[in-house]
């Protein structure tokens, strides 16, 4: 019987170890060997003392050497394993999370800016990014040049004057927000780039940001590819899904894939059907990305055909009927998707 240990291959006869082929005593080599796949098939039986054999067959001199060599090898192997788990989709997941974090922060900041700057120039009528850009560029409304469209409003504003000390403060505040917007744009661009490279088919079907979000929610492209497309269809509609599972609502038609223009721009009675077709193609695309990695433009063509046939078959809204579901009372207007 053959046994694989971290230090070598042992052959076990009727009366104990009959042969021992030690590996090279090199930490890097041993670390690679430690991670081989067939260790389970050739693992030592229960109760087998691998240390005693290592000393017996002369791989190491004594217990101390065994300990320190095994320690070095294991640390090296664990580091290898960790660096191998850092795949490109980890990068995408972090980028998507960072995007959401920036959105949270920047919304708070721009609300504050809008209140603060509103004291001085309430007629401006800008918000979020344009507001931040405006304030960081001009500061006080007195600096708005004559050719600027806001010039007239600026000269006749009812807002209070802005002392120069406060102007400096608010300008810095606004330019901080601008920097966050810049960072947001570059993260978004990098997601688009990475997605096109890593998951060309998913990007083609779902769009890069929705694709990235799906990957981030599932924890990786490989996992996304293993999910049933019904899950992909409702992913992100958690509240609605659980409400449905508790019997209090109809099933959600779409989760985050709603943001795909195919669904978003269709009339409501077609959306569920299109969402189903889209989710099916996303699953297919994810599998292509994982297992072949090549672009298959024909799935996009097929999807469009399918969507057109759905649209042709359902040109008019159906006549609404009272749903028969138990405990379900009518559509919850304004509820979750």
């Amino acid at each position: 019987m053959k046994i694989i240990t971290w230090y070598g291959i042992l052959t076990i006869g009727d009366d104990g170890v009959s042969e021992c082929e030690p590996f090279n005593k090199d930490v890097d080599e041993l670390a690679e060997l430690l991670l081989q796949k067939d260790v389970v098939a050739y693992s030592p039986g229960s109760g087998f003392d691998i240390r005693a054999v290592a000393i017996e067959c002369g791989f190491v001199e004594n217990d101390e050497e065994y300990n320190s060599l095994l320690r070095d090898v294991s640390i090296r192997a664990a580091k290898l394993q960790i660096s191998r788990t850092n795949t490109p989709d980890m990068q995408i997941i972090q980028a998507v999370e960072a995007l959401d974090d920036i959105d949270d922060v920047v919304n708070v900041l721009s609300e504050r800016l809008s209140e603060w700057y509103g004291l001085h120039f309430p007629e401006l009528g800008l918000s979020s990014e344009p507001l931040s850009r405006f304030v960081s560029e001009f500061g006080s409304r007195n600096n708005v040049p004559a050719e600027h469209p806001m010039f007239e409003k600026a000269t006749s504003s009812m807002g209070s004057e802005l002392p120069s000390a406060d102007e400096a403060l608010i300008r810095t505040f606004a330019s901080n927000a601008c920097e966050l917007y810049d960072s947001r744009h570059s993260i978004e661009a990098s997601i688009v780039r990475n997605m096109e490279q890593m998951a060309p088919n998913v990007t083609l079907i779902a769009g890069s940001l929705i694709g990235a979000r799906l990957i981030s929610m599932t924890g990786g492209l490989a996992r996304l590819s293993q999910l049933p497309s019904s899950t992909v269809q409702v992913m992100g509609a958690n509240r609605a899904l659980f409400k449905h599972l508790r019997g209090r609502a109809p099933s959600p038609k779409h989760g985050i894939i709603f943001n795909n223009p195919l669904i978003k721009n269709s009339p409501w009675w077609q959306r569920g059907k299109i969402a189903r077709a889209l989710a099916a193609k996303i699953s297919l695309a994810a599998r292509m990305d994982v297992y072949s990695g090549e672009l298959h433009p024909e799935i996009k063509v097929n999807l469009e055909k399918k969507v057109n046939s759905i649209k042709a078959a359902n040109p008019k809204p159906p006549v609404k009927q009272k749903p028969a579901g138990k405990g379900y009372k009518g559509k919850n207007k304004g509820g979750e998707r």
Binding site: V40, Y42, I50, R51, S68, R71, I75, Q81, I82
Partner: protein, 230 residues
């Protein structure tokens, strides 16, 4: 007396008017996770907080920890190495195999391993001992803190593969990770039952104790392998 050895490698060190649980720092001058360093009788000790470590709570609950200075220990569920660092302190001539499943926490554990000479990190699923049977030898002690619904089974399969006939199992059972709504004492009873009867490797429970107030709804447990009847 300023230092009192309550079990091999485990000390009580006087600080102010209090005796504080501690282990002798194997890597003097450095604190692993922000714990206090205590000087006493010319040695440096690291304070060991029972609220952060189930093993420390078991010590405070007067459970006998069967770890000796030359023990070989298999630690399942090492996490970022808070308790592992103290086990490492207790083993000047021993070795501890630290098994952890999550690459994220393993990142921190490895940084600890780099500063210690007796920790062998293993990134693997503790419920599949065959995945690391080519690395881990026969051990004197298995300490398990995995907070999994099937933790009794995990203990059994690992003891079958690695625990010496006279070795000990130290187990922390988290009732909430087995059944979130059931009464903890009922869960404990069932788990002990499982350990004693359900699997190929059966245990004899030597001592068990609730770990409150340090860890709510946790049971600390010391057991030995039941010898197989032939």
């Amino acid at each position: 007396m300023d230092v009192n050895e309550i079990s091999e490698g485990i000390f009580e060190v006087r600080k102010g008017g209090k005796m504080i649980l501690a282990t002798k720092n194997a890597n003097p001058g450095s604190s692993v996770y922000g714990e206090n360093l205590l000087e006493a009788e010319g040695e440096e000790y690291r304070a060991w907080d029972a609220r952060r470590s189930k093993l420390a709570a078991m010590v405070i609950k007067k459970m006998k920890v069967p770890i000796k200075s030359d023990s070989r220990v298999l630690y399942l569920g090492a996490a970022s190495g808070t308790t592992v660092s103290h086990v490492s302190d207790m083993l000047p001539n021993g070795i501890v195999y630290a098994v952890e499943f999550s690459p994220r926490t393993m990142r921190e554990l490895i940084q600890l391993c780099d500063t210690r000479s007796n920790i062998v990190p293993i990134l693997a699923d503790a419920s599949r001992p065959k995945l690391y049977a080519h690395i881990v030898e026969q051990v004197d002690v298995i300490f398990q803190d995995v907070a999994q619904p099937n933790q009794a089974q995990i203990a059994a399969v690992n003891a079958e593969q690695f625990l010496k006939e006279d070795g000990h199992l130290l187990l922390s059972i988290k009732a909430r990770s087995i059944d979130t709504v059931a009464n903890p004492s009922k869960v404990f009873k069932e788990e002990v039952n499982k350990l004693e009867k359900d699997f190929d490797t059966q245990f004899k429970v030597i001592k068990k104790h609730d770990l409150a107030p340090f860890h709510e709804d946790h049971l600390g447990l010391v057991a030995k392998k039941k010898l197989k009847e032939n």
